[in-house]
């Protein structure tokens, strides 16, 4: 794979340059709506489609039958009634604080041991691949997942202490029979929606190169290969907490069917399992309910969502934090700079220099974060490196925004301290830092 070395970003593993994104695809905006703005390069011809897509993402969907066919199709089983119910202001979700609080911006994936015909998780025979807490009238919701926390104080360098919380989940009000002890589960908060088009525009060859390059401290990184329903073949995965989706269109269509029960050309079957007879007998709003034109508009909207530019980059504490971030080898996975390639789906995103702080690869993050639920090639301990761009605004967009796949981390520092496995060395370095160094590191992350 040496011939791929030239494809690697020059900054990989080295001191990174000032990380401003290409001005054509990023915006200077530090408000609560920073994740909702179009790229400056949005062409007038794409403007109407952007706003059409925005309408669909903001739409609260209607239970059929309805006079409003274009916005009908919710259910029969669903988690939430709109995209932004989970992705408020296009931001990330959060975990409930108590067992009483419903999962409003998170869900639980389900499967049983084994693989589906394409190598993906094998759905449970009664509950499918995701716990849908709600049903339309006449269809029982599948049940609820309750979260409880245990807390532990961790000692840090310089005498500081920090409290971490670890969630456990329990299923209640199960409507379709008991769940087996062998059930595999994966709780996941809603990820943010911006910048995804740029990540899709990163060539697969870059992923191959990133996975091949030698990295420090036992860090590896590998591509998840997943099923592309349109191409009918296995391709590199890059979206989702385990990189289990190949592209944005399938990610969106997957969320429509999985989270809202809305069928689309990619997933034309309602989300009813065989024994869910009430579900199967419920009216549908169309076959499919979301047209290809609507799906394409939604995809186009996601393509055109701009990334917020970093802020406060010249403040000494932030500059120091950036250096510490590099010294802790965070950039080995949170790769600061990538180049997009040819991208005929949305040419405005092609050949851009971007700073997503991800390699889109899977990494073993250790036992404490493991969900023990394989997802294609991703093991129960592996997670995709989440992009960090714009993450400093997450709690401005929603003060409750959480971090890590299950929202257990309430701050970015907590998220860092949960790192283990391939990232154990980085986490150790951060734990040993002086308090002022950790504050600088946090300030840097907040600036992204």
């Amino acid at each position: 794979m040496k011939h791929c070395a030239s494809l690697l970003p020059a900054a990989l593993l080295l001191a990174a340059p000032a990380f401003a994104n290409d001005d054509a695809i990023a915006i200077h905006d530090d408000t609560r709506t920073a994740y909702t703005q179009p790229i400056p390069a949005l062409a007038d011809a794409d403007r109407a489609r952007f706003f059409q897509g925005r309408s669909l993402v903001r739409q609260v969907w209607v239970i059929p039958p309805s006079e409003n066919r274009a916005i009908a199709g919710l259910g029969p089983l669903y988690n939430r009634i709109s995209c932004i119910a989970c992705h408020g202001n296009n931001g990330r979700g959060y975990a409930p604080e108590t067992a009483d609080e419903p999962m409003r911006t998170m869900l639980v994936r389900l499967s049983v041991p084994g693989k589906d015909p394409h190598g993906g998780p094998l759905p449970h025979s009664a509950y499918g691949g995701q716990l849908n807490e709600n049903g339309v009238p006449g269809v029982a919701g599948e049940g609820r997942a309750e979260v409880r926390y245990t807390y532990r104080t961790v000692k840090l360098g310089g005498g500081e202490k920090i409290e971490l919380r670890k969630p456990t989940f329990r299923f209640v009000d199960l409507a379709y029979g008991p769940l087996p002890r062998t059930l595999l589960t994966s709780p996941r908060i809603a990820p943010p929606l911006y910048g995804l088009g740029l990540l899709e525009a990163v060539p697969a060859s870059t992923l191959v190169a990133l996975s091949s390059v030698a990295k420090p401290a036992g860090i590896k990184g590998r591509i998840n290969f997943v099923w592309d329903t349109e191409k009918n073949e296995t391709v590199p995965g890059r979206f989702g907490w385990k990189a289990n989706m190949p592209n944005l269109r399938q990610q969106i269509a997957g969320a429509f069917i999985g989270d809202m029960g809305i069928t689309s050309p990619l997933f034309p079957q309602e989300n009813c399992m065989l024994m869910q007879t009430d579900c199967a007998g419920s009216p549908s709003a169309g076959k499919p309910e979301l047209s290809m034109e609507q799906l394409a508009a939604s995809e186009s909207y996601h393509f055109a969502l701009a990334v917020p530019q970093p802020r406060n980059t010249t403040i000494p504490q932030v500059v120091r934090g950036k250096k510490l971030f590099e010294q802790a080898q965070c950039t080995a996975c949170h790769v600061p700079e990538l180049q997009t390639g040819e991208f005929t789906k949305y040419p405005a995103l092609a050949h851009r220099t971007i700073h997503p702080y991800t390699d889109l690869l899977l990494h073993d993050m250790g036992e404490a974060l493991a969900d023990h639920r394989p997802d294609y090639l991703a093991s129960g301990r592996e997670w995709r490196t989440p992009p960090l761009w714009g993450i400093g605004l997450a709690q401005k967009v929603d003060p409750r925004a959480g971090f890590l796949h299950d929202g257990r981390a309430r701050t970015l520092l907590e998220a860092v301290l949960w790192h283990d496995g391939e990232a154990a060395s980085s986490a150790r370095i951060v734990k040993r830092m002086k308090p002022s160094e950790r504050r600088a590191l946090s300030a840097y992350l907040e600036s992204l």
């Binding site: 905006d29 530090d30 408000t31 609560r32 709506t33 920073a34 109407a48 706003f51 059409q52 925005r54 309408s55 903001r58 609260v60 969907w61 209607v62 239970i63 309805s66 006079e67 409003n68 919710l74 009634i81 709109s82 932004i84 119910a85 408020g88 202001n89 009483d100 609080e101 419903p102 409003r104 709600n134 009238p137 006449g138 609820r144 309750e146 245990t150 532990r152 961790v154 971490l164 670890k166 456990t168 989940f169 329990r170 299923f171 209640v172 009000d173 199960l174 008991p178 769940l179 002890r181 059930l183 589960t185 036992e367 404490a368 493991a370 023990h372 283990d420």
Partner: protein, 423 residues
Amino acid sequence: MTKWTSTFLLLLFSQAAVAAEKVVVISSYPQEVISQFEAAFEKKYPQYRIELQWRQSRDAMSYLHQPHSPADVYWTPAQRNFAQLAREGAFRKLDIDLSGLPKRIGGFQISDPDGYYVAHETAGYGMAYHPAELARLKLPVPSDWKTLGDPAFDGHVMLPIPSRVGYAPILIDTMLQGYGWDAGWQVLSRIAANAALADAGATFITDDIGSGRYAVGMTMDFFAVSAIANGKPIRYTYPEKVGYSPAHVAIFKESANPEGARAFVRFVLSDAGQKLLFHPDIRKLPVRPAVYRAKPVDYFDPFAAAARATYDYDTASGLQRQELVSALFDALITRHHAELKAMHRALCKAEQKAPGDARLTAARRHANWLPLDATQVNDAALQQRFIQRNEQSAAIEKQWDADIAMHYAEATRIAQSIAGDLP
């Protein structure tokens, strides 16, 4: 940390927990409103879980008139639906404490006098503007609707079409009631001459004002005020006579969970519920005056404004004639927008060239001609024909079109004659 992994990773399964009772709420509120109220209500009343069924106004009426699973609460901005459903006996009388909740804002009736539904919040009508764009154009911040009719605003205004944009009918009718029938249409005609017409669709007026594409837009306050609270570079101002569009809440007679329904209604009307309306993503106007003591800086207080300038808007009349007025707007403005703009430009030129010319009176008479007068528009039989536009209403509109085209053409011809623009 390794200690945790061995102790707590086991997932427990149970069916023994007590399920929260659901409260079925029908609404057309945007997700931002739903999310805030759902979370706050369920936190205060963990024994209840909201099941929100979203339906737009017409769809909701169709749904409720067919056999359906029982709903508990209707909570939405849809005045006409509430009035009709109350007439049909669909609601229970609200047996909850409504003290501290006035039924009127100044002269505006906001709650049902008979007590079957009550206002939960209201929105006001005014103007969103882009200060930097106004400054660049050397235009003043508008103080009243009439300002937007000034020729200096030509090309810089957005005016929503009432037959297409859900919130616009009351905006238009408050102008017609506020200025009077004839004068109101004259103001609207002048504004339309300067304006781009905003259709239903995916863009918001605040998108176009925020981007500086237009300098001023006539819109409901919360669209703009929420955008301002979230950082858009725009401002919002109310005219002297503010119109309001209240949203209501009621409990269905068919409610399967009346206790839960009452809890929800009590909550949305409570101090805590009303203060949620101040959230940056919502920015609606509470109907409980006492909560304005805790309002954000510069938040509009309709009760204080009403005390300064009384304005008796006849809500019942406005709702009854809504479709008829919208149809008239389409004839006078939407379908003849190009002719209307040309006519006003010609009139303006003629007035500048020969302000004392006696022919101007005739030209203005043609320009201001209306197919219906203030009495005819309140004719119940005529209003009924426009509730659902059909062949009968189409025939009437066809005649309006012909008459309006003739009058606009004549006004333009006279004006051009005065200005010396005719061969």
